[in-house]
């Protein structure tokens, strides 16, 4: 695919640009995820070769940090805040309801590939607790019954 070829070229440029700076592996992985949406094994192999480190080191770092994904996300990424302020205001119930409505366990993508459901650490919008984000959209002061309506909106758009 020409589109994909372009992405690999971008990746090689990133590697060339950053490889001489100390501690380049994390920034390269971050930029790679920006290009591909995730860091699958073939991308990790290219990074390992490009930076002259072992694949096990790349894989070790990619799987250590929760930010890196080895598989792509759904079209919409739902992140429910489970920070303390949101938790004491009932965000677990919001998360449970989402999981139920989407028939998807936390951390996974819904069968239709539309939604990836994540529980996240503090988003820092504690004034709006409980909070979730869907891609860049923020939803605050949620109750579980808000969920079906919000999901319906995205299903219509899709």
């Amino acid at each position: 695919m020409p589109d994909n070829k372009d992405k690999y070229e971008q990746l090689n440029q990133v590697i060339a640009e950053l490889k001489d700076q100390p501690g380049a592996l994390m920034p390269v992985l971050q930029r790679a995820q920006g290009i591909f949406g995730c860091v699958p094994m073939d991308v990790q192999k290219i990074i390992a070769e490009g930076l002259g480190v072992t694949l096990s080191e790349v894989y070790g770092v990619a799987t250590f940090y929760s930010q890196f994904r080895l598989e792509p996300n759904g079209k919409y990424t739902i992140s429910v805040c489970l920070g303390t302020a949101c938790y004491v205001k009932g965000s677990q119930k919001v998360l449970d309801r989402l999981s139920e409505e989407l028939k998807t366990p936390v951390g996974k993508t819904s069968p239709d590939g539309l939604f990836t459901l994540n529980a996240t650490r503090c988003l820092g919008a504690c004034g709006l607790a409980p909070v979730m984000t869907i891609n860049d959209e923020v939803y605050g002061r949620l109750v579980p019954d808000d969920i079906p309506g919000i999901l319906a909106k995205y299903r219509e758009q899709a």
């Binding site: 994390m26 650490r121 504690c126 004034g127």
Partner: protein
């Protein structure tokens, strides 16, 4: 420079941006232009004002009128009434939770939430445009760096910080001046200054607010630290989850370089210093200093044993001095106003102020900065406005996953490093989550252990295995399968982990459990012995009951019950079959007569 007769300050912090402040700013600019006021009134996107509960927040100067929860549709009225005709829009003015007072003539400083505060670290947040270095310069910006470079020796700078009594605001409370002194004493061809902006405590967001509202304050302090310890390079390790903070840091670094305040030969003194940003990738353990340095090196963020301390062998095996964002935010003020000024605030061993992120079951959620030694009661009731919905205060959690829960009896504790530790909690980075009678303390302990287990890096056995065993016991207890002896097992594990874990994460992980056992042992016992949750929170231990004297037999509950557990005839009292009840609570929400209760 243009002079404006009025300024509209809109909060551009994460909280207010989440509730739509960007659209507000756009609307203000459009409306002001439409009314031909764009030469007279200026709109400024500031950092966080602190009172996130009232967001999006808009303040109109020179009056200091405080508008809260402003919607895009309200903008027209503020522009045409207040800015055009000079009449404050009374019904949009902030209303005090406690007094219900809505007084348009009260300026910011007179509002209860701000009255008890003293802002040093947050001094410019909500005051200046963080994306404009000139505004920072107008508020004495980079003056402290100039003073240090041109009139003070390195030793004098360190001495000043030492004398001020400033202690690390990231949680540990280690004397900052001492850290600087150790790093200065190390001899090496290259040293580093680093800034810990990997704010990971759930519910704490003071560092983010400083970075978003006053990024230059951190850059200036890092440059001063660089001069003091003899480093020419700095790293800021910031959470990738803070996009606004990252963007403003990048802008600030660019502007500072352009003005010659970072780079080579700063103030023509021959001092060189520059700063790089490194993004975190979502690992709580990277808030620990050695793990953070491994992460900047591009490795797995696993802590390493100390010694060697980072002041001797840190980042890239060179001497490194790491401070937290809020610590840095105090530095320039100490250099400018002197150590004695700073040391005049606070308690005997904790000087200055501390920023707390007040959240949970509290009326005024937001960021507050108070002198050390301010009692918890003042913070929660006078500033925080107390507990919403007439509920009873149960506990306040400080220190995040490393801290503990303090009960009502300890509300008069003056907050400082040592008092909190003595009370069984800790300062941590300053998260302060208030809990009411509906929160189950066993479940809160479980929540924090769940966090720790998830975030444990797995390097040392006490943390990797020990915290998991603790979590399993806690899960058993909240699910009604607790056994006699569980509390003792938890205490035993907790003490072992505290004594043997490699880093701060593991050593403090048992604190939420120990403090809840200490102050709320009766809740643990009720779960274990009576299989009851006193807060009616733990689902497995709840039973739903219909009060026959209140039930009118409207059938609303029976219709909504997903498990078909409710039966009864129309206009006659209904009953819930506990064997079918899913404990979802749908019936309670539907009942209009208050006949259903959790027991």
């Amino acid at each position: 420079m243009d002079i404006y007769r009025a300024h509209v300050l809109c909060c551009g912090g994460t909280g207010c941006t989440s509730s739509g402040s960007a659209q507000l700013i756009q609307r203000f600019e459009e409306k002001i232009k439409e009314n031909g006021l764009d030469k007279e009134v200026k709109v400024i996107r500031t950092g966080c004002f602190g009172l996130c509960e009232a967001g999006p927040v808009v303040i109109v100067y020179p009056e200091g009128t405080f508008y809260s929860r402003v919607k895009v549709d309200d903008v027209d009225e503020i522009v045409t009434e207040h800015l055009l005709k000079g009449r404050k829009v009374q019904h949009l003015v902030y209303s005090d939770h406690a007094t219900h007072e809505q007084n348009a003539n009260k300026s910011l400083q007179d509002i209860n939430f701000y009255k008890h505060q003293h802002r040093i670290a947050l001094r410019n947040c909500g005051v200046i445009d963080p994306e404009n270095i000139d505004e920072y310069l107008a508020f004495d910006g980079y003056k402290a760096l100039e003073k240090a470079l041109t009139t003070m020796t390195r030793e004098q700078v360190i001495e000043e910080i030492l004398k001020s009594g400033l202690r690390g605001r990231g949680g540990g409370g280690f004397p900052t001046g001492l850290k600087w002194k150790f790093a200065a004493a190390s001899v090496a061809d290259q040293k580093y200054v680093a800034c810990n902006a990997d704010e990971g405590d759930p519910g704490a967001f003071m560092d983010r607010s400083v970075l978003e509202g006053d990024p230059h304050a951190v850059l200036e302090a890092m440059a001063i630290a660089g001069y003091a310890i003899g480093a020419s390079e700095g790293y800021i390790y910031v959470r990738a989850e803070y996009p606004i903070a990252v963007k403003r840091l990048e802008i600030a670094i660019g502007q500072a370089r352009e003005y010659g305040l970072l780079g080579e030969n700063i103030f023509e003194t021959g001092f060189n210093f520059d700063i790089k940003i490194r993004l975190g990738a979502g690992a709580f353990v990277c808030g620990e200093e050695t793990a953070l340095m491994r992460s900047i090196e591009g490795k797995r963020g696993e802590p390493t044993p100390r010694p060697p301390f980072p002041a001797v062998k840190g980042l890239f095996a060179k001497p490194t001095m790491l401070n937290n964002v809020e610590t840095y935010a105090n530095v320039a003020q100490i250099i400018l106003n002197g150590a004695d000024w700073f040391a005049s605030m606070g308690t005997e061993k904790s000087k200055g102020t501390k920023v707390f992120a007040l959240g949970g079951k509290i009326n005024n959620t937001g960021l507050v900065e108070v002198p050390m030694g301010t009692p918890l009661r003042t913070i929660i009731y006078d500033i925080g406005g107390g507990i919403p919905n007439g509920k009873k205060f149960k506990a306040v959690q400080t220190g995040g996953p490393s801290g503990g829960c303090l009960p009502a009896e300890l509300l008069d504790t003056p907050v400082d490093y040592d008092n909190l530790i003595a009370a069984g909690s800790m300062m941590g980075s300053g998260g302060m989550i208030v809990m009411d009678e509906d929160n189950c303390m066993v479940d809160i302990a479980r929540f924090f252990l769940d966090f720790t287990v998830d975030e444990s890096c797995g390097k040392c056995a006490p943390c990797r295995i020990g915290t998991r065993r603790m979590l399993e016991i806690l899960e058993r207890i909240v699910n009604g399968k607790g056994e006699e002896g569980d509390i003792e097992k938890l205490e035993n594990l907790a003490n072992t982990i505290k004594a043997t874990a490699l880093c701060g994460l593991g050593q403090t992980a048992p604190n939420p459990v120990l403090s809840t056992i200490k102050f709320f042992r009766h809740e643990y016992e009720a779960h274990i012995r009576e299989k009851k949750c006193p807060a009616h929170h733990c689902q497995a231990l709840l039973s739903y009951v219909i009060d026959p004297s209140k039930c009118r037999g409207c059938t609303a509950c029976a219709r909504v019950c997903p498990g078909g557990a409710i039966s009864g005839e129309v206009k006659n009292p209904h009953v819930i079959d506990p064997s079918k009840c899913l404990k979802c609570g749908a019936c309670i929400e539907k009942c209009r007569f208050g006949a259903i209760s959790k027991q």
